[in-house]
Assembly symmetry: C2
């Protein structure tokens, strides 16, 4: 069975970069936004739309207040079906990736989707001040937000990630019990962490 590393991460913690470095060092395939592109290829939906679906908790698909509840449940709902198709494709693509070769997969509940592959499940996090600094350095703040506004953005992105993960898995996003290793990048250089991790991930 191929060796699979999954990476969950707080926004601005450097999780994506750590995953890329780790994949380079181990010569593993690396999948992140490639999953979105592949879903777009297969469904003919735009990458932007797919991104908006897979990074948010499923919307309430039926009207809450309706005098015609039978109608609401019985009629086909195109949006619901489209979203289900996106999730199904994502699931399929992630399984194909795991079958193809050793790989690092960032986000997308891959730790849960691939639980039968015994993945090494990493979660990357950091102090808020460190995340704000990293966002500014890495250009992930194109709007040049105030510290307060950037903090809110970081909080909101993670809130959506948590909702998505907690809806589609029976684990809790960011709870250490859901992972094999949780790494606080606040005081660490990612390059060095990745190098050290090349030993760690073969322990499981």
């Amino acid at each position: 069975m191929n060796k699979i590393i999954t990476i969950g991460r707080e926004f601005g913690s450097g999780g994506r970069e750590l995953g890329r470095l780790l994949a380079e060092k181990l010569q593993f395939a690396y999948y992140d936004k490639e999953i979105i592109s592949e879903i777009a290829n297969r469904t003919e939906l735009s990458e932007q739309y797919i991104q908006s679906v897979v990074e948010h908790r499923p919307i309430n698909l039926f009207p809450i207040h309706t005098g015609q509840s039978f109608y609401a449940y019985a009629m086909p709902n195109p949006l619901f079906e489209q979203n289900q198709e996106i999730y199904a494709q994502q699931n399929k693509i992630i399984h194909e990736m795991a079958e193809r070769s050793d790989c690092v997969i960032v986000g997308r509940c891959a730790d849960y989707i691939l639980r039968d592959y015994n993945p090494f499940r990493i979660f990357v996090y950091a102090d808020m001040s460190s995340k704000i600094k990293r966002c500014r350095e890495k250009g992930e703040d194109p709007e040049n937000l105030t510290d307060k506004a950037l903090k809110k953005k970081i909080y909101d992105v993670d809130k959506e990630r948590a909702k998505y993960y907690n809806t589609y898995t029976d684990h809790v996003w960011g709870d250490k019990k859901s992972y094999d290793l949780c790494i606080n990048t606040t005081y660490m250089e990612l390059e060095e962490v990745a190098e050290a991790l090349t030993k760690m991930i073969f322990v499981k």
Copy 2:
């Protein structure tokens, strides 16, 4: 400044053993129950008594219901003073250990007490089934408890550790934010984890 590694751990997760292995591999000093023995030497109190004090949240030192609250607060309380002496000695001894050489320190809020030394703060945890299995294998269940009773014991020990840590620090015991690395030992061999960690701890 000496390199300090601190280890917080859930009961039965193998944290103490991991610390000992890591210290051996790095040729660092290792401190665990040695701290209790040293306090006993300096205070002439029994090790058993000191253990009971430092592993529990401070007791309520003043009567809750009293018609003489002035008396209760104003009078010396020998138990309170004795406990304070134990905490003060523990703090002093841990600082002396950190000054003496590179070392691994298990428990005792050492991560917080030595925060100015920039320690590498590890937290070790595991699934309950794994902790039960380890307790039985390591003879930490001399009473041969049922699974249910052993689970309760594990839960109770950790509850006391959490209360103690949360009282004496401004961090939260077991919350990943309080540590640099959290390791789930459920599916891992401690010997191999310790070997891989010898690289990781120099990253910070």
